[in-house]
Symmetry: C2
Subunit: 300 residues, 2 copies
Amino acid sequence: MSLVVVGSIAFDSIRTPYGEQQEILGGAATFFSVTASWFTPVSVVAVVGEDFGDAQFKVFRDRGIDTTGVEQVSGRTFRWKGEYRGDMNQAHTLDTQLNVFEKFVPKVPAAYLSSEFLFLANIDPLLQLNVRRSFSGLKASGLDTMNYWIQGMPEELKKVLATVDVLLINDGEARMLSGQSHLKKAAECIRQFGPRVVVIKRGEHGATLFGDSIFTVPAFPLDDVFDPTGAGDTFAGGFMGHLARTGDLSDANLRRCAVYGSVMGSFAVEEFGVGRLARLTPAEIESRYRAIKQLTHFDA
Amino acid sequence: MSLVVVGSIAFDSIRTPYGEQQEILGGAATFFSVTASWFTPVSVVAVVGEDFGDAQFKVFRDRGIDTTGVEQVSGRTFRWKGEYRGDMNQAHTLDTQLNVFEKFVPKVPAAYLSSEFLFLANIDPLLQLNVRRSFSGLKASGLDTMNYWIQGMPEELKKVLATVDVLLINDGEARMLSGQSHLKKAAECIRQFGPRVVVIKRGEHGATLFGDSIFTVPAFPLDDVFDPTGAGDTFAGGFMGHLARTGDLSDANLRRCAVYGSVMGSFAVEEFGVGRLARLTPAEIESRYRAIKQLTHFDA
């Protein structure tokens, strides 16, 4: 079944202990859609500037992603510059230029509105709410957010939380949103706001899903983490991608969604940008899924 | 098969967000032996002072633990005072009085020397090495250590590492011992020093075993963590206890050892001291083992 994502497209400049890249294609909607495209048809709603060219659109096109909803306006595309030092779980932002993203008002093409699955990546919760309300036949919707909105627009955020099925959020954000330092209590508190499933991403420690049951999945132990940028959006892309592919909201399948999230996140960090994600094969994805099974299996 | 532990017995004074306790029975050998006693016969080598009375010995006796090797000398028992604030993974030491523990020289009773399993809890690596050398028929030995010895006696520590099968260590110590920030590389480095199995404990994030394969086990998600003191020693007690009970060093069984470590660690933190561990039932242990299976299970 088809999946729509609304979020940012950006040019990222990134320095990690492994090297440096200037103005490479990034943004939550990019990582999410390239990832989810391995599972299900994906359509994107985003905004880019005049500097966004065919080379960038080709990345989406090559993965069969519908970019009808990617509006191109005058001005420059959103730019983010960041650095990772010793702790690869922590990005240090060096520069943010919102550019055309500052006045972004998502325009959802009519053809998208019959989609059964929607992911609202991290943007202003009022915009998320408007987009959410324009869809009437969803089987499930997912949401991401960040500290900036949790602190600055908590009431608006709670309104959109009341309308979604799955919240995918990192541990620090979950603690801030709930006011609870203990993650199980944080998840229980957030579920009261609306989402019946809360997935707390814990970077190198994996992720925990709180729904009808609790499920933990580890991060795949790689030899090297080259660039963590986009790993959370990639996790969401794997999670929502498998959910939309199967249309199965059962507890057993939500667990598989979390494993696919971890699988895809592990590929994301193997290289800068979306390069690794763009040239995956289904066999590689299934092989790493089995590797995570092997990593966690023990006899009862 | 029988299991010997060498380590500290202490009186702990602890403050956590949940309350405060003065001079309760603690120490690595205490947490380890009370835990392992649920799996296999356990004997302790330790030192206590004149202030250590029948009420304390009774805790060991009630669990069938052999305390022939607990030497009682003139002076006061080792005392530790600590506090946990927001982050329950981090103990803040307020006071340490080594007392009789300062001059501790382990004296292993002759009857202990035929044991097949040995655990060297965190003490001076030269003492660990002497104890290790006095056993000649071991099926497997385990070791713990801490930052103090890693920084202060690295060469002596490497000598004892070369003689043991399993190192159980926390993530910060693994990074310090190896000089590698990435845990997989840290474990690979430490395995070069000798132990064929390295278990890295990650507090609320669970533990990862590096041996013939890599295995991760989560921490059991409790509603409340009352007191994390002794959780690492308890993990080791569950791990070594199940290993000694089965005598099975296969990869599949080492995974079960790690799960029992996590199971027992989760009980340890439910109350101050060893109270919860002392009044467990085998059924409770097996029930939580199955709960961790449920927490991590997904269909392949």
